[in-house]
């Protein structure tokens, strides 16, 4: 197994008995290893088939397709096997890989069987939230490096068990907060925030994901391709139900697990986790409290809130700050999805979508600050956009309205699928060429406050975080 974190490499393997798998492990764990001989180094040259990372998939649904499509252009991967309880999905994954790469993967209906029989370097976990922790722990213990989709788990305990398993096994565990590897996000944090301090003092943060009603409907599928009741029961899709469920009800839970409390964290976790993670990452701080409100305002039969609004309070080195976040599943208007950091000198609104990314320089900044911005434009660090134009009109109340800010943009974008850099980082880390940008521990540090949004909205009380709430 490829194991850059291993502290106890096996030393008793003779070169003659060295398998391809062992070879990769030996050639990446590095320092002081006898196997770092020239012949071995030659074998590890770029493009060599023996360098291929053997990949398996756990879960072959929609998010799996997103991840798979984001990795098809990454060299050095050999797809080996996939597991899912739904045969039709396995067939689609099998077909996609065969038609693109001409290779046939092994298909499993049971994850444990796949992990036991296959010699895998890495697995991608994209199962429903309530299976993330068990599958990740299982795969780590089987010796695989794991890329697991966010939210880490539907429970804090589950997420903590993943961190513990990562530490115990010494394997890598990357969590799918893909923005952390996105060049646009990294550039914004490292250059615009940390190096040039463009926002000034950040006092407010505003994030949202507004999704239309049409995108929030129940998922349906042909009954003939769905798993039978006994399989769904075995997979725990009746979790939290207070009665015996019919096959139809189980299948609804299977397709729409995001609506059920014991299977997922709901919209605040599905959509909010990515963005609230950015609040914490960019501020390099964890919130001290959360207040929230939510409701089953339209989808009254769903267990989770369909609309949630929350406010996190932060204590940062610059002073206190507040972050408002809303997730709406009934309205798409209002600018889509973004995270907006509102400072005294500038607001940087960043989004995974370039179209929603905007940078505004406050109109009242000093000449010195303005000169700095002009210089950054000249150097190519920023792109100049439209100058602020006063709206004018008879309804303007001149004494209250601020002069409009000038608009700027990031100097460039990302020409890959948004998940690709994060997956590339995972593979590089496996090869010992990079550190994970979002390992399970850092992910949990960032995710832990999110687990308390739904309880805060349910209780209508402010939750002041203690170590008990947030410990990893």
């Amino acid at each position: 197994m490829v194991n850059p974190q291993s502290k106890e490499p096996t030393m008793d393997i003779t070169p003659s008995a060295l398998t391809r798998r062992d070879f990769i492990a030996k050639s990446t764990i590095g320092a002081g290893m006898v196997l770092g001989a020239p012949s071995i180094l030659k074998a590890k040259e770029e493009g060599s088939p023996s360098d291929d990372i053997r990949v398996g998939f756990i879960g072959c649904g929609k998010q799996h397709e997103v991840l798979y499509n984001a990795m098809v252009n990454i060299p050095g991967i050999h797809f080996v096997a996939a597991a899912d309880i739904m045969k039709d999905r396995l067939g689609r994954t099998f077909g996609s890989i065969r038609s693109r790469f001409g290779t046939q993967i092994k298909r499993y209906l049971d994850v444990e069987e796949m992990l036991e029989k296959e010699d895998l370097d890495a697995v991608f976990v994209s199962t429903p939230d309530f299976w993330h922790a068990p599958h990740t722990v299982m795969a780590l213990e089987a010796g695989c490096h794991v890329y697991c989709e966010k939210m880490m788990s539907n429970t804090l305990e589950g997420a903590r068990s993943m961190v513990e398993a990562m530490d115990r096994t010494g394997r890598l565990c990357q969590i799918g907060h893909q923005r952390r590897s996105n060049p646009r996000y990294l550039f914004t944090l490292n250059e615009l925030f940390n190096k040039y301090e463009l926002p000034g003092q950040i006092v407010n943060i505003n994030g949202q994901w507004n999704r239309a009603l049409s995108s929030s409907q129940d998922i349906v599928s042909k009954p003939t391709i769905l798993p039978k009741a006994d399989i769904l029961l075995k997979a725990g899709f009746d979790k939290g139900a207070d009665k015996k469920l019919s096959e139809e009800e189980l299948r609804h839970r299977f397709l729409n697990w995001r609506f059920y409390k014991d299977l997922s964290g709901g919209p605040i976790s599905d959509l909010g986790a990515h963005q609230i993670d950015i609040f914490n990452w960019y501020l390099n701080a964890r919130p001290v409290s959360v207040m929230a409100s939510g409701g089953r305002s339209f989808f009254r039969d769903r267990e989770h809130f369909d609309n949630v609004m929350c406010v996190f309070d932060y204590e940062t080195p610059q002073g206190n700050a507040r972050a408002f976040y809303q997730v709406l599943t009934t309205t798409s208007a209002g600018g889509g999805y973004y995270e907006s950091f509102m400072g005294t000198d500038a607001t940087i609104q960043i989004s995974e979508r370039e179209a929603y990314t905007k940078i505004y320089k406050e109109s009242g900044v000093s000449d010195e600050v303005s000169a700095k911005w002009d210089q950054l434009v000249a150097r190519g660090v920023l792109k100049k956009g439209a100058a602020g134009q006063a709206a004018g009109g008879s309804d303007e109340i001149a004494s209250y309205a601020s002069a409009p800010p000038d608009e700027y943009g990031l100097p460039g974008g990302l020409n890959k699928p948004p998940h690709q850099p994060h997956i590339e980082n995972f593979f590089k880390a496996i090869r010992g060429e990079a550190k994970l940008t979002c390992d399970a521990r850092h992910a949990l540090e960032s995710e832990a406050p999110i687990y308390w949004v739904n309880p805060a909205a349910e209780s209508k009380e402010i939750i002041n975080f203690t170590d008990e709430h947030l410990h990893t």
Binding site: P183, L186, N190, R379, G380, P411, G412, G413, L414, N415
Partner: protein, 172 residues
């Protein structure tokens, strides 16, 4: 001097015919080749301080490329509209879509080389008439008028056919 009075050796008519052949051939060949045109999207690194940035930020680039894979005889937007026309059967539309590009190129080349110029001009006129028929169905009057000028030029070329020079096959 009128056409009737000329003896078939008039320099001005000969040059006029040559120009018409060149124009109609160029128009036809390039229109056919353009049906194989597409756009290749790419990206290049963004420069900061005159050097490629360290983050992998890129800006989009696009360039025009020609390839057999790009072929689309009837432009996609028109194709979808023709599909709804009761006078155009789908099999006919598919066939037309396949032959239009190659037909334009072949007719253009034969006209340029002077291979059976009169029949080539007539076939080209029929092709432009068929295109006109489609545009009549879609009520695209500007396009109809534009094709009408092509037909006028073809008729002029036919009228000047006896002044045709530099032709490989003068018969027909």
């Amino acid at each position: 001097m009128s056409l009737k009075e000329s003896d078939g050796n008039s320099l001005e008519y000969t040059l006029g015919m040559l120009l018409l052949r060149l124009w109609l051939a160029m128009r036809s060949i390039q229109a056919g080749i353009e049906k194989y045109a597409g756009t290749s999207a790419g990206a290049k690194p963004v420069n900061i301080d005159g050097a490629p940035n360290d983050y992998g930020l890129t800006e989009a680039t696009s360039s025009k490329v020609y390839s057999l894979d790009n072929y689309q005889g009837v432009p996609a937007a028109l194709y979808d509209k023709f599909k709804d026309e009761p006078f155009i059967p789908e099999w006919g539309l598919n066939l037309y879509n396949i032959i239009l590009g190659p037909a334009l190129i072949i007719l253009g080349i034969t006209l340029l080389l002077g291979l059976a110029t009169r029949f080539t001009l007539f076939a080209m006129g029929l092709l432009y008439s068929s295109l006109t028929f489609g545009l009549i169905l879609l009520k695209q009057d500007a396009g109809i008028a534009w094709l009408g000028t092509h037909i006028i030029m073809i008729v002029m070329a036919l009228a000047l056919a006896k002044y045709n020079r530099f032709a490989i096959l003068k018969k027909w």
